[in-house]
Amino acid sequence: MDVRELVIQAIYLASSVLFILGLKSLSHPDRARLGMQQAAMGMALAIVGTLFHHEIVRFDFIALALVLGTVVGYPLGMFVPMTAMPQRIAISHMFGALAATLVGVAEYRINEVGLPRSTMAALGFEVLFGALTVTGSFMAFGKLQEFITGRPVTYKGQNAVNITLFGVAIAMFLYLIYRPQTSVVFYAMIGLALLLGVFMVLPIGGADMPVVVSLLNSYAGLASSATGFAIQNNVLIICGALDGASGFLLSILMSKAMNRSFGNVLFGAFGSPPALAAGAQAKDLTVHSVSAEDAAMRMAYAGTVIVVPGYGMAVAQAQHVVRELADLLEKRGVTVKYAIHPVAGRMPGHMNVLLAEANVPYDRLYDMEQINSEFPQADVALVIGANDVVNPAARSDPSSPIYGMPILDVDKAKGAIVLKRSMNPGFAGIENQLFYAPNTSMLFGDAKSSLTRLVSEVKAL
């Protein structure tokens, strides 16, 4: 190992430490920003260090790519609105996986003859999961951006088709380890993996997106890590492992928050059929609607109001009006708290980011476990565009598709006011008994305009 190589390795080691410290700093919001800035320094160090690599002889491609990447990346970092964060994250998984896949393809082309089996195993894994993540993330992006339907797209025998395709891809992978030089199989496997990514995400509905986005995060990480194995680079292995572990952990947390297994999310495509049955049953129940004036009155004279935001708040971009309403209520002496369900919205932490954007102090945001015991003492639970995460059927109705899912106990509050566009069932297509409960009042309309009306009514009091 010459001096240059030694210096580069030392830089990589330093960057790895900075990355781990950066992630560690995320355990507390006060320290997080500084920690991540240090991690960014680590990244800059690693990039500069790599430029001294002895194999690098020309800088034209590098310079152009770095400049172009910065030009595209800057607006993606600075100007994408917080409400678009789920699709922003989904598309970044695509970029990460694309980079890993292309490095894998190039490595294969260069070393096609006489590739050792261990390297082939790493390369195969890299391009298989990389390619699958590229199209899978693009599909997730499309669904979140809504140029592909957010509803599950299903057909008969879908799971059989997907499992067969996956089996074939794995068989190709194993064959490649046995005979690394069969390039036809290598490229066919990539094609199949690209197709699989599309098929895998097609049947997944909008409400299941938090799990899928986390899972794709994990795959992108694992593909990067496999790149590290293939080109024998430890910093890549480490960072890929960190990313993989993080995505994996988040997927587990999200699945748990929906009381479903991975398999069920990926192959379960929660259906519309049960919704029809429940819909019929709900017909003879009555809904109590309320005027903005009455709703405002009830909140203004309440002791405690718990705000329960959901995807509807994100769609209506209502987080700023929520904050305005909360400010007015607090001025009148009302205690306002926010209850955040882990899978509210379309990605882990979606609601927290939106409310933080609207300047809600983070010590007002409560996790499900922290806040559930407080609902019985709350005078009003204000549900803004949340549906499945407050559906009491999850506790009481074993026939419901979401039975067993932990929910926010909004039905236990003294009263609930639900802001909702119409009586259409939510994304999962399940009827919600909460909306028919005697102490629930419905305020129909777009969340933002309803909240604006509430604000002006509270002001008028």
């Binding site: 990355f19 950066g22 992630l23 355990s27 919001p29 006060d30 991540m36 991690a39 690693a46 990039i47 790599t50 690599h53 194999e55 002889v57 020309r58 491609f61 590098i62 172009l68 990447g69 910065t70 990346g73 800057y74 993606l76 970092g77 600075m78 917080m82 994250i89 970044s92 998984h93 970029f95 990460g96 694309l98 980079a99 292309l102 490095v103 190039a106 082309r109 995060n217 990480g221 990067s224 890590s225 590290g228 194995f229 680079n233 480490i238 960072c239 890929g240 960190l242 572990a245 993080s246 995505g247 947390l253 932490g349 979606h350 927290n352 980011v353 933080a356 300047n359 983070y362 945001l365």
Partner: protein, 108 residues
């Protein structure tokens, strides 16, 4: 032998990652995602070598696209993480004099 050492590195890193990330509160799960995404764009170190080495033009182009994609994630990822983390604020502490007033009021 080298691949065994790499396996050690992977397993230990995954373990450290799991331990560190378990302690990230749900509050910061979105920044966590964008942060890990930016960090895993370290795949740049592989693609830079590819784009700058003298293999053949196809490899250079593959490297070019890989560097481009990874750079988008580095620049965009760290910026957006910072932008999000900047928003997470504690409730402003009450002015000291005022708090004192309250306290004495309670005692009396």
């Amino acid at each position: 032998m080298t691949s065994i050492i790499e396996l050690y590195v992977f397993v230990l890193a995954a373990f450290v990652g799991y331990q560190v990330i378990t302690r990230v509160p749900p509050l910061l799960h979105t920044p966590l995602m964008s942060a890990t995404n930016a960090i895993s764009a370290i795949s740049l170190v592989g693609s830079l070598v590819l784009a700058g080495a003298n293999h053949d033009t196809v490899s250079n182009w593959l490297g070019f696209i890989a560097v481009l994609s990874a750079t988008i994630n580095v620049v965009g990822g760290f910026l957006i993480t910072d932008r999000m983390l900047k928003m997470f604020r504690r409730e402003p502490k009450p002015v000291p004099g005022k708090a004192l007033e309250k306290k004495t009021g309670g005692a009396g």
